[in-house]
Symmetry: C2
Subunit: 109 residues, 2 copies
């Protein structure tokens, strides 16, 4: 049984937002995205995958399509396939986001 | 842009565990499962879908296959397709779990 103690898995990098894999199967992946103040996930599009962003800690500015929203802990949004999306941690604190994507864009095996 | 303020969406029922839908597409669903003390999600199997359980609040006993683990807030596990899984809130507090399943077992449209 695969158990993840997520608080202990948070990890940050000075150069860019850090991704930490929690679970992945051929059907989905679930990651932590850990942002220092000022770090971003630049706007991008997945043609065939949907993504959920669920904020665990801190506060960030999320863009989905032409809309933006400031989300804090226990707030979430979804970026459907084909819709541009990105994240900015405008600071001053760290931002930790739980990310689900389905299907897995590059499944193993 | 679909935003969910999850803390405000928690909902409990006296007769059984309450499911609250957060997001769904044809590729996945994301729900809250809200358990009063003593409530369960009985053991069951999905033949073609994987499920993540991510504890947001409280503490519960999770079973995946033949293994069990007590998980509390910020702890998570995965139930792969074909593996029996279930949850018990042994109390004394409430248990709130974020659930992600992919693919959606009964997609709309």
């Amino acid at each position: 049984m695969e158990v993840k103690r997520v608080a202990a898995l948070r990890a940050f990098a000075t150069d860019k937002m850090k991704k930490v894999s929690l679970f992945e199967t051929r059907r989905f992946f679930c990651d932590l995205y850990c942002f220092e103040p000022g770090q971003v996930q630049k706007g991008h599009v997945h043609q065939g995958e949907d993504k959920v962003y669920f904020v665990l800690e801190g506060r960030g500015r999320f863009t989905v399509g032409r809309e933006e929203a400031e989300l804090c802990a226990m707030e979430a949004t979804v970026a459907p396939a084909g819709v541009e999306h990105g994240v900015l941690n405008g600071g001053p604190g760290r931002l930790v986001v739980l990310v689900f994507m389905a299907p897995h864009p590059s499944p193993k095996g």
